[in-house]
Symmetry: C2
DNA sequence: TAGATTGTTAATCGATTAACAATC
DNA sequence: TAGATTGTTAATCGATTAACAATC
């Protein structure tokens, strides 16, 4: 009956950026913005902004533009930021600690309620009032507290089995920082942060730019113009 | 004269994943693999693998497949992993320390040679033999050592000006962890890691899956089948 | 009302998949 | 040689951009 319209991940991954820019405008006291103005700030096309937004309904007003606060709120709702998420961190090494210490996530409704590790030297330590527990306690904790998101910042050797256990215990999302691809039941959503991939991509860009520059220099010195 | 073929970022961003899988195969002692076998392991189409690789030339052999070691090396070269990169970290907070402590990058030729911060309590501290210096020393250091990559793990308030300075001092790439978009000259390549975007995307996926499940339950309970 | 800007359709462009001839 | 699998062209699919009628 209702139109089935699967929204592409390309669109979804642009939403947080819109959300961020709108939040900044809001803080500056800007109340309205047109797709053209926003497109210039964000270095995208106005058409894309309008297309993206209209996947979710009409948030603007012809002849006027978009109300910044309203649009910001609505995008937040689409992303699911109107609700809270209970999170745990599995693996309290440097990266786990870094995330635990960040306050910006909790502001957006992502609440850190548990920390787990195997290392006895870390167990008992507290970060922002959350104590590191032995990983043996994780099953009970996840079930009792209905934890939604697990942040995987542990050595990659144990990630696969941990992810499988967490899936069994009812976790909804895994934020995976290990260089591993997780194949879990579709009751569990996975979002990967592959830092090494990102760094390799930067290396590519650097080399590519170098090659382009050399090519340009060469054609200029020869006096050729290639399109 | 030579064919101009700009390779899309979609393709590039898949290369590190191929590289990782090939590395794992190599470690397992696998010497050859076909695009079909690899596609099954990686959950992509064989066609895509062959198309991706053939952007850079033919690495395989008809009737045989691909030599794992050779393909691994070649993808490494495409990504620019055959050379070393001198890196510094700007902002030695939790995240900066986490990256500094990670040994996996240096194995791939990304060498951390400098750490900078404004915090006097951090200055003088050492991580893996690299001492944290006052940020005042950064200009001289970058120029003298011909630093290629700066890792920006500092508060977002100072990122913009820092990026501009680094660009002026000849940096080639910025690995930006701040929730900020950097607009720098095209002599500098930027790769962003927006952790908050990633987490919001996970929130979306979780909600989306929830909605899908409810929809399915409903149509099943009513006995309707919708395609 | 006239001007502005959305929402939306149509056109273009690019990316992915399918198919198959080339060839090892 | 026969079988397998690549490299590559063609077909399909999806995403982006352009255009413009609807409308505030």
């Amino acid at each position: 009956m209702t139109e089935e319209r699967k929204i592409s991940m390309n669109v979804i991954r642009r939403l947080p950026r819109y959300y961020r820019y709108l939040g900044e405008l809001l803080q500056k006291g800007v109340t309205k913005i047109s797709s053209r103005e926003l497109s210039e700030k964000m270095n995208v096309t106005a058409s894309q902004i309008r297309q993206d937004l209209n996947n979710f309904g009409g948030f603007g007003q012809q002849g006027y533009g978009y109300n910044v606060e309203y649009l910001h709120t609505e995008i937040g709702k689409i992303l699911g930021l109107h609700q809270n998420y209970k999170m745990i961190i599995v693996g309290v090494g440097n990266l786990g600690q870094a995330i635990a210490n960040s306050t910006s996530f909790s502001k957006r409704g992502f609440k850190l309620i548990g920390l787990f590790d195997v290392n006895p030297r870390l167990i008992g330590m507290s970060i922002h009032g959350v104590e590191v527990q032995d990983i043996d306690k994780m099953e009970q904790f996840v079930k009792e507290n209905e934890v939604e998101i697990a942040i995987l910042t542990m050595p990659k050797t144990r990630v696969k089995e941990t992810a499988e256990s967490l899936a069994k215990w009812g976790i909804k999302g895994l934020w995976n920082f290990s260089p591993v691809d997780l194949f879990v039941p579709d009751t569990v959503q996975v979002e990967n942060v592959h830092l090494s991939h990102s760094l390799m991509t930067l290396a590519y860009k650097i080399n590519e730019a170098e090659v382009e520059r050399e090519k340009k220099d060469k054609s200029e010195s020869i006096g050729q113009i290639e399109e």
